[in-house]
Amino acid sequence: MTLTRELGKRFLGLILVLFLVTLFTALLLSMVPGDPVDTLLPLSDSSPEVVAQKEALREELNLDEPLPARYAAWLGDFVRGDFGNYYRTSGADPVGDRLAEALPVSLQLMVYAQVLALLIAVPLGVLSAYRAGTLFDKAANTTAFALLAVPNFVLGLGLAYYVGVVAGWLPPSGYVPFTDNPAEHIQRMILPAVTLAAAQIAVYMRLLRSDMVQTLQEDFIQMARSKGISDQRVLWRHALRPSSLTLLTVAGHNVGTLIGGAVIVEVLFSIPGLGTAIAQAIFERQYVALQTFVAVLAILYVLVNFAVDVLYTVVDPRIRHARARN
């Protein structure tokens, strides 16, 4: 199958999944036990104004329509950028505004965490594989293992308290946009990024180490060694690239996961990202907003994973040529 045909097939699968996911999230509101309108507008008043408000809301949310119509309406709005509203006693706030503020923040946190994790995990993984079996390797492996067992919220709480409050080295919470104050922005993002990165470091390091140990036993590594080039060169120029495929795939998938999986970290450190928005929407029972956020998350996740899979097959020259030959 040619590259384009395979991509096309995958793309169709992608569309299907996106459709089903958005369908599911669009129905979240209807799954709430009881009358959704009463949940959104918890006013027990039965005065005509309130009744009219509720009717208007019911109309707006198409709650009386059959399922397909409801989904179609939701989808139509979504695609046009109408992401629904927060329904508060003070009035309706468009969700889109909050989304536009929160999404970049979550993306920043995700990028920082990934970069940090890779910067630390890659050298550690390479070194562990090079010195496989030594004390260094065992220590690194054990530390990684222990790190994975610490729940991220415990780590976050611990860091926030001991580094932030007790030692006072870094601010324990809050967020400042980069454009306002770059230095403080970085300062405030360090602890949450470290908390998020910790588990990733352990996973990446072990993945890379395991793949590298296998690669180092291959013939072409012996061949490279026999050319008399330095060990460093053999490790970084010859062994690293073929060993990093699994790592890059996992890291790629993590991009999607981390955007939504950072809920706890964001809440703990008061970072106003998508995670906090979701937590808040739940707390305030703003299910319309919740629908939107979950849908956005799912879409991003699916798209990112799709891109990673495509990149993976395109980048590996062996697969590329095998396909060309067919």
């Binding site: 067992a149 610490v150 709480l157 939504g260 706890i264 919740l290 996740y301």
Partner: protein, 307 residues
């Protein structure tokens, strides 16, 4: 000039032509010290959790003024007290009861449902498999915690007073739903590869029913992978329960490791033990589960490697 080959006998009990390199020092098939510690800890904590009401513990809900915000090693209270003066030892044990129940039941449910679905999908393949895989992918495209959070929020927080029992059921159900696609995928992949083996074809040719083959031939081979992931899954579920509690949608009336941390969080400055003790309990349990999960996988992986 004769260009022939010497008949080479099978390779010796020595080594291959390739110079030997390091043996990977990850958990081997034998249980080391850590393995025994893990088993002991898990066994112990499970036993305590199971027998909690019958044990000579203090009442976990009763406040003792003398131990408000104190660390461990108080007279009569080995682990000290939390912000309200409640006995930490009792709370940790009863907390274990709650957290472990939630995690184990959720993963078991996910194992049964996901495992069954995966087994059938991997064995029969075809349209059922395609539909199931798409369904799994859909569920997996929402980050697990967000999905669980949403489900719990929708079904257990809508009205103000939801009974604790119902809350717990919803949490278990939500975690189970999140577990199903993960376990289903692994089981399906494993069942797929085992179903293509000779012995399955042989059984089919002999006329054995599909059901029999699935459960008598394929399932026993798929089980180790499932078990390994299930152990890891329980660890994740325990942490997830903690996350849910911290986000305000966990169980409330009874102690759980998660809500102990959530409650102790505001007190962190004055009494770190209220957070530290349940955190340590979670840490040790997760460590033990991760280690044993790795051991199970290592023990049974070799068979897969031979394929």
């Amino acid at each position: 000039m004769p260009v022939g080959s010497v008949m080479a006998p099978p390779a010796a009990a020595g080594h291959a032509a390739q110079p030997l390199d390091e043996i990977d020092p990850s958990p081997t098939r034998r249980l080391g010290i850590i393995g025994w510690f893990s088993l002991t800890w898990l066994g112990g904590i499970s036993l305590l959790a199971l027998l909690a009401p019958a044990l000579p513990l203090k009442d976990p809900d009763r406040s003792y003024l003398e131990i408000v915000r104190t660390g461990p090693l108080q007279p009569g209270h080995i682990l000290g007290g939390d912000g309200n003066g409640r006995d930490m030892l009792a709370r940790v044990v009863f907390g274990a009861r709650t957290s472990l129940t939630i995690a184990v039941v959720a993963v078991l449910a996910g194992l049964v449902v996901g495992g069954l679905l995966g087994l059938v999908a991997g064995y029969y393949r075809g349209r059922f498999d395609a539909v199931l895989t798409t369904l799994f992918n859909v569920l997996l495209s929402i980050p697990a915690l967000v999905l669980a959070l949403s489900l719990v929020a929708v079904f257990a927080s809508a009205d103000q007073d939801v009974s604790n029992g119902r809350k717990m059921s919803v949490i278990i159900a939500a975690l189970a739903i999140v577990t199903v696609p993960i376990l289903g995928r692994i089981t399906r992949a494993s069942a797929l590869s085992w179903s293509e083996r000779e012995f399955v074809k042989a059984a089919q040719v002999l006329g054995a029913s599909h059901r029999r083959i699935m459960f008598r031939e394929v399932l026993p081979n798929v089980a180790p992978a499932m078990m390994s992931i299930a152990l890891l899954g329980i660890a994740v579920a325990i942490v997830a329960e903690g996350s849910l509690a911290l986000l305000g949608v966990g169980v409330t009336e009874v102690p759980s490791w998660g809500n102990m941390i959530a409650l102790g969080r505001s007190d962190l400055a004055r009494n770190g033990w209220a957070v530290g003790i349940p955190s340590t309990a979670i840490f040790l349990t997760v460590l033990a589960l991760n280690y044993l999960g790795d051991v199970v996988r290592a023990r049974f992986d070799v068979r897969e490697g031979v394929l």
